[in-house]
């Protein structure tokens, strides 16, 4: 099976470009080890299951680039907690998936290794920044993959590619060895076809890590055990700010049909308000770049990664290495972040953004006193065309309007397919209270038991057939 999938993945590369690195040898030996363990009568949660890791997770001995030229030669000397947990559970890693450079992007067009294409329509983007992971799962190259989500980077590509994805509560999954973008927002999570699979994968990924001081010290429940709970009496909040907007009509109709389905399953719909939603994207695009400018200061050409040729002095080594190693969007965000943190602008930008962040969190806290979960779209519309938004950074940022508030509040968000618009899959987002992933997964699973959106697959026979 591992060989079959590696061949398919290899064949798909010129079309989808969903992988940065395929690790044939390591995958085959891991698959052999899994076979041997099974022969010995051993078992573990993911024994022999093929997976792919977003290239933001450090994998010891396997090149890890974060989609950047800066790390295009970087072979980590250590393993991220997430990839180690997958290894311990018996999973077979087939490779490292493509992504927007340092997870900065909503279309996967910002990768040093080239854009990823959407398996549903090769002229459209797969979303980002975990676009490689989402495209690989959607195309059937792997049944599950890991992603990271800072402002929507798991949920949005999952929606654009017609699969399920979960951003857990901030701190639920260890960030050790996950290459940092914005540390108060970054969170790892799983992508797969079904919510049932997400429940198993989260069980493997979640938990306290002594080596990540922001990792949460909260017990990890058996997420699979509560999937069957009936939805009777569950209160779902519909934020009026979101539903009063002029949305993509076809996408809005699909979402309404999904809401009606949930009501049929016993859920009660409640009108709620999240009044500061519109300010979330501006606040996010101050906080995330500010943290990024600090995090990315470590890339200076001295200890690892790209180093410019013949530096004349130390300043030249730093500034030329960084100019050569970082792509355009990453440089933009470093500059915005540096500006927002600089003397004289700190209060007007960074402090103000952090104050808005509290208002956004307070909106959710108030809403969760009335409801159990909140439902929104994941994106304003279906996947857009390659190149459609690359020349306008702000238009690209506004793609994140439905995912960013959840991130700023640190809440968990589940993205599941709920219909089609323009022939492309679209998703619905279910937002839960802190550490209430079990309820989100229960709700998503019940929806998937009664609908078949998650079973729809793009026709990839041509793009995954090998040349011979």
């Amino acid at each position: 099976m591992t060989r079959h999938l590696l061949t398919k993945a290899e064949a798909s590369q010129p079309h989808l470009n969903s992988f940065i690195t395929l690790c044939h040898d390591q995958a085959i030996s891991a698959a052999r080890a899994a076979d041997e363990a099974r022969t010995r009568g051993e078992n573990s949660l993911l024994l022999g299951i093929p997976v792919a890791h977003k290239d933001a997770f450090c994998t010891a001995g396997i090149r890890t680039t974060s989609g950047s030229r800066m790390l295009s030669n970087f072979i980590p000397p250590y393993e991220s907690t997430v990839s180690r947990k997958f290894k311990d559970a018996g999973a077979v890693c087939l490779g490292k998936t493509n992504m927007d450079e340092f997870a900065m992007g909503s279309s996967n067009e910002n990768s040093f290794f080239g854009a990823v294409r959407n398996p549903w329509d090769l002229s459209r983007v797969p979303g980002g920044s975990s676009g490689g992971s989402a495209a690989a799962v959607a195309a059937g190259l792997v049944p599950a993959a890991t992603g990271t989500d800072t402002g929507g980077s798991i949920r949005q590509p999952a929606a654009f590619c017609g699969i399920s994805g979960l951003k857990p509560t901030y701190g639920r999954v260890s960030r050790l060895g996950m290459i940092a973008y914005a540390s108060s927002l970054d969170q790892g999570g799983p992508l797969a076809h079904t919510v049932e699979d997400l429940a198993l994968l989260l069980k493997v990924m979640a938990g306290l890590d002594e080596n990540d001081s922001t990792s949460a010290d909260a017990p990890v429940p058996d997420y699979a055990a509560t999937l069957a709970t009936p939805l009777q009496g569950l209160r779902i909040g519909l934020p009026r700010e979101v539903f009063s907007e002029t949305a993509h009509p076809e996408a809005a109709r699909a979402l309404q049909a999904a809401i009606a389905e949930l009501e049929k399953l016993g859920a009660t719909l409640v009108d709620i308000t999240l009044p500061h939603t519109a300010l979330s994207v501006p606040a996010y695009y101050v906080i995330a770049p500010a943290e990024a400018s600090t995090n990315l200061s470590r890339f200076d050409g001295v200890r690892y990664g790209h180093r410019c040729d013949n530096p004349t002095d130390l300043e030249d080594l730093y500034s030329r290495t960084r100019a050569e190693g970082f792509g355009k969007e990453v440089q933009r965000r470093i500059l915005i972040g540096t500006y927002a943190l600089s003397a004289g602008y700190y209060d007007a930008y960074y402090r103000q953004a952090q104050r808005i962040r509290r208002l956004i969190k307070n909106d959710f806290v108030a809403a969760f006193s009335q409801v159990d979960t909140i439902l929104t779209p994941v994106t304003p519309g279906p996947a857009f065309g390659l190149g459609a938004k690359t020349s306008d950074p702000v238009a690209m940022y506004l793609e994140d309007i439905y995912t960013v508030p959840t991130s700023l509040a640190g809440l968990p968000g589940l993205s599941i397919p709920c219909g089609f618009a323009e022939g492309m899959p679209i998703g619905m987002q279910l937002i839960g209270n802190y550490f209430d992933e079990a309820r989100l997964l229960n709700l998503g699973h019940q929806f998937q038991l009664h609908t078949d959106w998650h079973t729809r697959r793009p026709d990839v026979t041509r793009i995954t057939a090998s040349a011979n």
């Binding site: 072979i75 980590p76 000397p77 509560t169 901030y170 701190g171 108060s184 927002l185 002594e210 001081s213 922001t214 949460a216 010290d217 300010l279 501006p282 606040a283 695009y285 101050v286 200061s297 200076d300 001295v302 200890r303 690892y304 004349t312 002095d313 130390l314 030249d316 080594l317 730093y318 500034s319 030329r320 960084r322 100019a323 970082f326 440089q331 933009r332 470093i334 500059l335 915005i336 540096t338 500006y339 600089s342 007007a348 930008y349 103000q352 953004a353 952090q354 104050r355 808005i356 962040r357 509290r358 208002l359 969190k361 950074p393 702000v394 940022y397 509040a409 640190g410 809440l411 802190y434």
Partner: protein, 95 residues
């Protein structure tokens, strides 16, 4: 508020990013557009609001101050080819 090219050049020095003079103008425009966009935040009165840094308002976990890690210098320096006797090499700083 709008950002000027010379201001951006200063920020680029702080960020240790060499910006080509030919790109300075278009980069200034991009940044100006982004800053203009984020300034929507100013519509909101936040005077009595405490800034929020960690979404869970957690404090960093502390541990006892004792040695827990073995020396991994060789492993960590294996990814760098500009080292000598365990030290990182950089261009000469002191004449």
């Amino acid at each position: 508020m709008s950002i000027k090219a010379d201001e951006l050049a200063k920020i680029a020095v702080l960020a240790r990013l060499k910006v080509d003079p030919e790109h300075l103008q278009s980069l200034t425009q991009d940044l100006d557009q982004i800053l203009h966009f984020v300034e929507q935040m100013n519509q909101q009165n936040t005077q009595s609001i405490e800034p929020l840094g960690n979404p869970l308002e957690q404090h960093q976990r502390l541990r006892t101050d004792c040695v827990t890690e073995p020396n991994q210098r060789e492993a960590l320096q294996s990814v760098c080819n500009t080292t000598e006797k365990g030290l990182y090499l950089v261009p000469k700083v002191i004449e």
